[in-house]
C-alpha cells in the first residue's frame, strides 16, 4: 500500500514537470504566431480560413476538392475586381509588398512598396502609411514618398512633383532612371494628379480611350 503510494507520487512529479515544459513550449510558439500575425493586416476570408485549417492537417467536410474549388471561385471574383480597378484607374499594379512597422491598438504604421506601369511607363513607388484611430473616425496620412521612374521624358512629371514636394530633386541622376525622395509628407492623390502627366509622358491617350471602350462594352 505504502509502496504504491510512493510510485504514484513519483509519477505525479514526472508528469507535472513534463507539463511545465510543454506549457513553456506552447507559450513560445504562441508568441511566434503572434509575431507572424502582426504582418497580416487583413482578416482572412472564410475560404482562406478553411484553406489554412486544411493545410494544418485538420480534415473538413467535403475534403480538399471542396476547399480548393471554393477558394478558386473567390479568386476568380478577386481577379475580376482587379481587372475592373485596373481599367478604371488606368494604372496596372504588379506587386505590392507591405511591411508593418507598428500595430498598436490605435496606431498602424506600414511601409508599402508598389510596382506597376501606366500605359508604357514603368514605375516603383514607396511610401509610409499611418492610420490613427479616433473614437469616431480614423485619420490616414502618407509620408516618405519615393518614386522611381524609368523614362527619358520627365518634364511634365517633374513639374507635378515639384508642385507637391517642397524639396528639389536630384537632376544629376542618369536620365534613364531617377528617384525623388522627400521626408516631408505629400499629397496622396498620386493617381488623380499623376495620371494626366503620366499619360502625357507615355503619349497614349488613344490607348486610354481603347481601354474605356473595352470596359463599357
Amino acid at each position: 500500500m505504502e509502496k504504491m503510494s510512493d510510485e504514484n507520487t513519483e509519477e505525479v512529479k514526472v508528469l507535472e514537470s513534463e507539463i511545465e515544459r510543454l506549457q513553456a513550449e506552447v507559450e513560445s510558439l504562441q508568441h511566434q504566431q503572434q509575431e507572424i500575425n502582426k504582418d497580416i493586416t487583413f482578416h482572412y476570408s472564410q475560404q482562406m480560413e478553411n484553406a489554412l485549417v486544411f493545410m494544418c492537417g485538420q480534415r473538413q467536410e467535403g475534403g480538399k476538392e471542396m476547399v480548393m474549388s471554393r477558394l478558386k471561385e473567390e479568386l476568380e471574383e478577386l481577379e475580376e475586381d482587379m481587372k475592373l480597378q485596373t481599367e478604371i484607374n488606368g494604372i496596372t499594379l504588379n506587386s505590392c509588398t507591405t511591411k508593418t512597422l507598428q500595430n498598436s491598438g490605435r496606431k498602424l504604421v506600414q511601409q508599402l512598396s508598389l510596382s506597376g506601369n501606366c500605359s508604357e511607363l514603368v514605375f516603383q513607388v514607396e511610401f509610409q502609411l499611418s492610420e490613427i484611430k479616433d473614437s469616431e473616425r480614423s485619420k490616414r496620412t502618407i509620408g516618405d514618398l519615393n518614386v522611381v521612374l524609368d523614362s527619358s521624358d520627365l518634364q511634365n512629371f517633374s513639374s507635378f512633383l515639384s508642385r507637391c514636394i517642397f524639396c528639389p530633386y536630384d537632376r544629376n541622376l542618369p536620365e534613364s532612371a531617377w528617384s525623388v525622395s522627400e521626408s516631408a509628407a505629400k499629397s496622396r492623390s498620386l493617381i488623380s494628379e499623376a495620371r494626366p502627366h503620366l499619360d502625357c509622358v507615355a503619349q497614349s491617350e488613344e490607348f486610354g480611350k481603347q481601354q474605356m471602350e473595352k470596359y463599357l462594352r
Binding site: 475586381d81 504588379n94 508599402l112 508598389l114
Partner: protein, 357 residues
Amino acid sequence: MVCERKQCASGDRTGTTALSRVTFTGQHCGYPVGGVVTQQPPKSKTCKRSGCLHRIKYVQKNKEKDSGNMEGAPAKGVLSHLSLLEVKARSRKTQLQQQSRVMELKAKVEALKTQREQLKAQIQTHQDLQKLRLAMDKQCADEEEENMEEESENSKLLRLMARHTQLKDLLHAHHLIGGYDIIKTRKGKGACVSIATAYEDVFLDTFNLEIDLKPTVKISRHNIPPFIPLNNLAEQNNMQTDLRVFLDTLSKHLNAFAGRKQQLKLVKEKHKSVEVMESNVLCSLLVLLFTVPREKTAVLCTLDYTDHTRCLPTRVHLESEDKQLPDSPQWKKNCTLLMETPVHKALITMKKMGSIA
C-alpha cells in the same frame, strides 16, 4: 448527548447490534468503544479515549430475537476488524485520488502535446505561404514567367492562397494610391464608384456615386454636395463615352474643394488672430481680417477661388484704412505669397515677417 470536546465527532452515539445476541456497542470520537455483549444496556460508561472524559450513552438499534446461539466474536476481534476495515477504506480513497490525479495529468499532457503540434503546423503553413508570396511578388515585379513545374496537391492549394493574399494587397493598393474604388452591381448593369479626397498628406472625405451602365450610362444616386455641378460635368465630359475622364474631372473638383475646406479649417484653428469674415459652402470665397502689429491697422483680404479645380486663389484683393498699405512693397509681396501658397501656410510666413499679428 453531544460531546463537547472540540475534536470529537459530534453526537455519535449510535449503537449497532451484531450477531444473534443483542449487542450494545458504542462509538465515540470515531473509535469503537467496548463491544459488550449483554442482555441489558450497560450502564453509562465514560469514553476511554485519552483526554475525553465524556459519558457515552448506549442505544439499542434493530433489536433481534435471541436465537439462543452462543456465538459471539470476542470484543477484541471486532474492534481490530473494524480498525482494519477503516484503514483499508482510507488508503483506498487516497489511492483512488492519486490514480485520478495521474490520469488528469496524463490527459493534460496529451492536450498540451496536441496544442503544440497544431501551433507548429499553423506556423509552418504561414511561413510557407509567406515564402511563396515573396517569390510570386518578385516574379510579378520583374514580370517573369511563372515556371509551372509539377506541383503536389498541397502546393497547388498554397499557390492559390498566396495569389489570394496578393490580390487582396493589390486591390488595397489601388485604393490607397487614390484610385476610384469601383464595384459592379446588379450583374453588370450598374456600378458603385468611390472617389477619395485628400489634402497635404491627410485623407479626407470620400464621395460615392451609383451609376447605371445599361441601357445608358447615367448617375442614379450620389452623396456629392449640391454646389458641385455634377450634371454639368457629366454632360461636358461626355460621361456616356468616357467614364474615366468624367471621373477625373469630378475628382479634381472634389479634391480641390476638400483642399480649400481643409485650408479654411486650418486657418480657423491655427490663426486665431486672423478673423474669418466671410466664407461660402464651396469655399470659393474667403474674406479675412488682418491686424497690422504696432499700428493696429485693419486689413481686409478677399481671396477669390474662381477656378474650382484648384486649391489656390485666382485673385487676391486687399483693402485697408491706410490707403497706402496695399501698394507698399511688403504687402505686394504678401499678395503674391497668397496667390502662390496655400493660405494657412502663407499666414505663417506673414506673421514671421511681421506683416500681421
